[in-house]
Amino acid sequence: MSEATAKRHMGLRASRTVSNTLIHVLLIVISIIWLIPFVCIVLQSFRVENTGPVGYIIPHQWGTGNYTRLFQTDFPRWYTNTFIAALATAALQTVIVLCMSYTLSRFRFKMRQPLMRFMLILGMFPGMLSMIILYRVLKDLGLTQANAVPGLILVYVASSGMGYYVSKGFFDTIPMSLDEAARVDGATRAKILYKIILPLSKPIVIYTILTAFMGPWGDYVFARYIAFGTSAGKNVAVGLYDWLNKDQISNCYTMFCAGGVLVALPVTILFLFLQKYYVEGVTGGAVKG
């Protein structure tokens, strides 16, 4: 190796080190900015010397008082409400979405294309538009205020069939010949779905469950509208947000932070464990639409 090439190599390596360092410094800065609000909320939730918002981040006195206070309020009820709604939605919506995707991916029936197009167009209308009429319908069914949870589940699940795109895309990538082989061996359509297709599409199933769970978990607008004026029907987002009202904030702010931490906990754990599948699911379905 001549001296000149060696030098050039050195230069290349040096420049790569420099650019890597720069990129990492940038990433560290970005992640600090990204994490600061979360760290703040966690720290504030352990602050016990004052329950209102203050101008510093590190608590002067630490304690778990906010968490114990939290359980003397209606918070457990809100948490249960949210959990039930999210869980039920996750189960029902997953079943509906997967069946829908399977049907659209494997069956060839009249009106299939028009139906898909129709749902595409229908999906373009923001759901909020239907809020008032939905409220009236739910009210007539007696599913508002204190009975908001079944009402909310109904709303969340009702249109879920239209969210078939990603999983249908994934199913399309599974060769039809597998189905045909199974058919030859005498499998029914349903058997094909749960014996062949589903085991092959684990990432997409988990992705569907996760997204179905996250919607109700963080919902504010619908939940607030349907559960208005009753503590018993609120979900966590609505209940916690009400603590930020002017007349409550100085008493409830740290409790709000503690509530926020508890809300984030299950979702964070879920994502940590299922992250691998989640990424596969999102990208897998996009390979072929």
């Binding site: 004052n50 209102g52 918002p53 203050v54 101008g55 510093y56 409220y135 009210k139 508002t144 205020q145 509208y225 208005f228 004026g229 009753t230 503590s231 009400d242 009202n245 002017k246 007349d247 409550q248 100085s250 008493n251």
Partner: protein
């Protein structure tokens, strides 16, 4: 449908008022009451007390829900039918609630009692037009000054300039929310005698405003404000938690007293707002004084409505307000309670009372005003000279007058002759204690309507026409409200004298 429902409810209410005296009220009623979170337990006890003591045999099965008073109107308007039967709210939501038919009128007798026993400002806040719609609950929604005695010498508390100097010397902050809150920044304007008074009619609609913020007195006010906001130690905040982060003075209200006491302990000073000096003259800072109200929702069942009004009267009566003062330190609106020694001795309320000669009762104010007026704070901070200050006021005035019609005693005769333009810039057909002449061209529809500028809702129609009725035809409510159609094309003179309209053919 909504109108019909409103009408039925109103009719039932009116009926209930008539029936109150004679109807048999005894019975058990399931009701929902919305109160602030910290008042839930007390209200539960008070309802029990009412059940035990009332002589009519009324028993309430009350579900008490915590709904913030700051948020009650939004919640209520979501669905009045499903809202609380009795609910508490801050007075700024009053007009919205009346417009939404969420408040039942008080009967004559109840109205008399309420008027006689409560602070007049709170009664005014519960009144739209001449009708009383709510029961005053507190009268403590105002602001005054909290300060740290270890930083601020007591002899300086009357002068804003000295306070600023003290804060700057001690490197401590003077917290007074000027950049983000019209409620607080109005303080300077009230100091120099400016006003922004809104009028509502019996249905809660805003009909006129008298606003003098953009005036020589207003300029003095913003000069005073400039002194404060240009100090590097001014902080735009209204929370006593700022005492934790380097503030020596915080302007806030009674709700912060406990928190302030906790932070500063014996060093806490509480007093009325200071004066500021412009061109050698002193102006004592003003403030808003506001209240919380309790409302009863219009009911289908007249007997239940009457019973609810009894309960509301009890819950806002002398005894209940005193209990609220003792347990929650809410300042009573009841005159007897206000005069009691215990109330007079409360430091927060004492400061509020000291401030009260300079306080302006917060009447009905249009919801948009708060957002328009709060911009003044930022504009004043950015202004570099007097012209800049004046520009801030001009900007405010422009926004107010582009959104609302400042003088709605004027009327506009809109129709084909002015292309149905109902903005107040069309001077041609603007009736204000005078007359206009208009050409009505031949067309299929030679109609129009007389409205307040900028609005299609509040018509002054056929009914107001005293002379010349034969020239026009009233289309009644079939085509909107009181549409007027000229029977023949031609040139007409329309005169408006403030109450009646005269139409003459030329």
């Amino acid at each position: 449908m909504k109108k019909l429902l409103a009408f039925v409810l109103a009719a039932v209410m009116a009926l209930s008022v008539c029936l109150t005296a004679s109807a048999e009220l005894a019975g058990t009623y399931d009701i929902t009451i919305w109160v602030a979170e910290n008042a839930v337990a007390l209200t539960e006890k008070q309802v029990q007390d009412f059940n035990a003591t009332n002589t009519d045999g009324i028993v309430f099965n009350a579900t008490i829900e915590a709904v913030s008073e700051a948020d009650a109107a939004t919640q209520m308007i979501t669905d009045v039918e499903a809202g609380g039967d009795i609910f508490c709210f801050a007075q700024d939501q009053f007009a919205r609630l009346v417009q939404a038919n969420a408040l039942a009128k008080l009967g004559t007798k109840a109205a008399e009692t309420v008027t006689a026993n409560n602070d007049p400002a709170t009664v005014a806040a519960s009144t739209s037009g001449d009708v009383l719609y709510a029961y005053p609950l507190t009268a403590d929604n105002g602001y005054f000054m909290y300060y740290d005695k270890s930083v601020i010498p007591e002899e300086d508390v009357d002068s804003m300039e000295k306070l600023i100097a003290d804060c700057e010397a001690a490197q401590k902050y003077f917290a007074f929310e000027q950049q983000t809150s019209a409620w607080y920044l109005a303080s300077f304007f009230f100091a120099t005698g400016c006003k922004s008074e809104w009028k509502t009619d019996d249905e809660g609609n805003f009909i006129s405003v008298n606003d003098t913020f953009n005036s020589p007195a207003g300029l003095i006010a913003v000069k005073g404000m400039k002194k404060l906001v240009s100090s590097p130690f001014h902080l735009s905040s209204g929370s006593v938690n700022e005492f934790n982060s380097g503030a020596a003075i915080v302007v806030s209200g009674t709700w912060d007293y406990t928190a302030a006491k906790e932070i500063l302990g014996d060093n806490l000073g509480v007093t009325d707002l200071p004066s500021f000096e412009v061109d050698g003259k002193e102006y004592h800072l003003g403030s808003f004084s506001g209240c919380k109200l309790m409302g009863v929702k219009p009911q289908v069942d007249a007997v239940k409505a009457a019973a609810l009004h009894k309960l509301a009267q009890y819950l806002t009566g002398e005894k209940a307000q005193m209990e609220r003062f003792e347990e929650l330190a809410w300042g009573p609106s009841n005159l007897a309670d206000q005069a009691s020694e215990a109330v007079q001795a409360n430091p927060g309320l004492a400061a509020l009372i000291a401030q009260s000669p300079y306080a302006v009762p917060q009447g009905q104010i249009h919801g948009s005003w708060w957002d328009i007026a709060k911009v003044i704070g930022e504009d004043v901070k950015n202004a570099t000279d007097d012209a800049g200050l004046q520009a801030a006021l001009d900007n405010y005035y422009d926004k107010i007058s582009s959104l609302f019609t400042l003088d709605t005693s004027a009327l506009l005769f809109v129709g084909a002759w002015n292309n149905w333009n109902n903005a107040d810039d069309t001077d041609t057909y603007y009736l204000k204690d005078g007359s206009v002449t208009l050409d009505v061209p031949q067309s299929d529809y030679m109609g129009g309507r007389i409205v307040n500028p900028g609005s299609w809702d509040t018509d002054k129609g056929f009914q107001q026409v005293t002379e010349g009725k034969e020239l026009i035809q009233d289309l009644g409510e079939d085509i909107g409200d009181n549409n007027i159609v000229f029977l023949a094309p031609g040139n007409y003179t329309v005169t408006w004298d403030g109450t009646a309209i005269t139409i003459a053919a030329n």
